[in-house]
Amino acid sequence: MMRLAGKLLVSAYALAIYGFIFLPVVVLVLFSFQATSFPIPPFTGPSLRWYETVLADTRLTSALFNSVLVALLSSALAVALGFLAAWGFARHHLPRSGLLRGLITLPLTVSYLIIGMGMLILFNAAGIPRSLVAAGIGHVVINLPLCFAIIYSQMGDHQVNIERAARDLGAPEWKVLFLVSVPVLWPAIFASFFLSMTFSWDEFVISFLLTRFDTTLPVEIWNLLRSGLNPRTNAIGSLVFGVSIVFALLLELAFLRRSRR
């Protein structure tokens, strides 16, 4: 009897927690299928009406395209730089290595608002206009520390001898990197790339501060929200959420592949 009550209590608690986390998203997604003009109960759908509107809106679709572009390019750059930094720290003796490593990961703890403001001021002073490129650089700044931390943590000493063996067998340094180090660290590289993609995809503050005419999807959604809630925002929000889920799944896949080995 007691055990049954305990089980019920645990289940209720779990339900409450997951409800707390997912209920807002569920509501968002549900009302994106609303047939009428207001995303409020009662539910009148399901209807794909608002998805059609969203996909017909060139401002939204070009923002979506911009977001994907910025996410892909900034993540690729962040991973490349993060890998090289990790490799440098793991394989070479650098003076003040601990301090330098701390500095490289420091942006992880600084708020995006501060980073965005700093870059806005810097770009203004340097005469670099607000643009997608500026926002992309901002995303590299926030994602590089993450990529570095993930890849560095996986770059253990057990790979030192593997790289040595490659050198011993006649590989020049760039071949050691591309034929041995990168393939061996592939799961970590893959994971950090998709994590960067996810963060860049969702990022608002820096994109908001650093872009002007062409902008990314989160900023465009914010523009929409200024004219009040309607199922269109729900629809585009659901799309963004869907893409994030795909990234998360890919990330999971990368880690799963790793743990099976």
Partner: protein, 354 residues
């Protein structure tokens, strides 16, 4: 070819404040199996890393086939290394692991595959070409590592504790295979180990190292039977050490005042000199034999049954600082706490001055 294959001249190297190698010089002959034997921290691995090009020495030089390779990176050396953890490329198949060195040398694919298969067949893994390294056992990975290093036809193969990660039985088996393989390919092997049995079984030339220096080197039989130093006498097999002073010289004989009594034996020395006598465990007996002398009474402190013999430890009654180690026939009745009289022949004792 004349002259040694590898010549090491006065190598010294320090890590931080620690002197890992101290003016080490040695020769490696073509086609020989050289074993560097020593405890951890003796500098043997550092020496191997310097020959392989992974460490550049502070002083001294490395000549291979008469050319100075001291500061040449590993990729451009005629050496190949088998690492203790094998260091196989986990993302490449066994065949591509073996073919890696040939690929780096620009050998065409078809030829590469052929030679890799030959090398794998040589180590008895002909059917593992398409397997991945993680599908192989430790002993098989070891063989792949060997094939990978031998396929590039190095002038000298360097093996860093290659059997260290294997269990004892497999280790003894791989040991025999290594020796047979070396005889077959004829490449000079330099093998680092801390296992003296491995060293004795494999070496044509055994180099005993301690504290960054070479203590002794030569054929393993000589190093075992006539060790050159106290360290060598106790590290390459066990020994009982009797320290003493040279008393006086006779004709061809000297008398030594040891802590268990006066002993006369053939040899040379100067009166007043501190020396040690090393006696191998198999030369100590419980009963007098022709030519043997008494080493005095001793209390047995430990008896370990090891099948064909008993390993007996005993402490001298005259001086508790003298510890005897004897290998006695298993049938000999001896137990802990017994007081026994030990005998050894002066002809079997080795006079050591360092």
């Amino acid at each position: 070819m004349t002259g040694p294959l590898v010549e090491i001249r006065k190598l010294s190297h320090s890590f931080g404040g620690h002197r890992a190698l101290d003016e080490v010089s040695l020769h490696v002959e073509p086609g020989s199996y050289t074993v560097l034997l020593g405890p951890s921290g003796s500098g043997k691995t550092t020496l191997l890393s310097i020959i392989g090009g992974f460490v550049h020495p502070d002083e001294g030089s490395v000549f291979i086939r008469g050319n100075d390779f001291t500061r040449t990176p590993p990729a451009q050396r005629p050496t190949a290394t088998v690492f203790q953890d094998y260091a196989l490329f986990p993302h490449l198949s066994v065949g591509n692991n073996v073919g890696f060195g040939l690929r780096m040398r620009g050998v065409a694919r078809a030829k590469r595959v052929g030679r890799s298969r030959e090398a794998l067949a040589m180590v008895g893994l002909a059917d593992s070409y398409h397997k991945m390294p993680h599908q192989l056992s430790g002993g098989q990975r070891q063989r792949v590592a060997l094939a990978r290093s031998l396929v590039v036809e190095p002038a000298v193969l360097l093996l860093d504790e290659p059997l260290g990660a294997l269990d004892l039985k497999l280790r003894r088996q791989m040991q025999d295979e290594l020796k047979a393989l070396q005889k077959r390919v004829g490449t000079a092997f330099i093998h680092v180990t801390h296992d003296q049995e491995e060293a004795m079984a494999l070496a044509d030339h055994c180099i005993v190292m301690n504290d960054g220096r070479i203590e002794d080197q030569g054929p393993p039989e000589r190093v075992y039977s006539r060790p050159a130093s106290r360290f060598s006498a106790t590290f390459m097999g066990e020994s009982t050490l009797l320290s003493g002073k040279v008393l006086d010289l006779g004709t061809d004989e000297i008398r030594i005042d040891t802590r268990v009594g006066l002993l006369s034996l053939a040899g040379a020395g100067e009166p007043g000199f501190d020396v040690s006598l090393a006696i191998r465990p198999e030369h100590i007996t419980l009963v007098p034999e022709p030519g043997s002398v008494s080493l005095g009474e001793a209390a047995v402190t430990d008896v370990v049954f090891q099948g064909s013999f008993k390993r007996v430890s005993a402490v001298s009654a005259k001086d508790p600082g003298v510890a005897f180690i004897a290998k006695l026939r298993s049938s000999q009745p001896v137990a802990v706490g017994d007081t026994v009289t030990l005998y050894a022949s002066p002809a079997e004792m080795v006079l050591l001055s360092r």
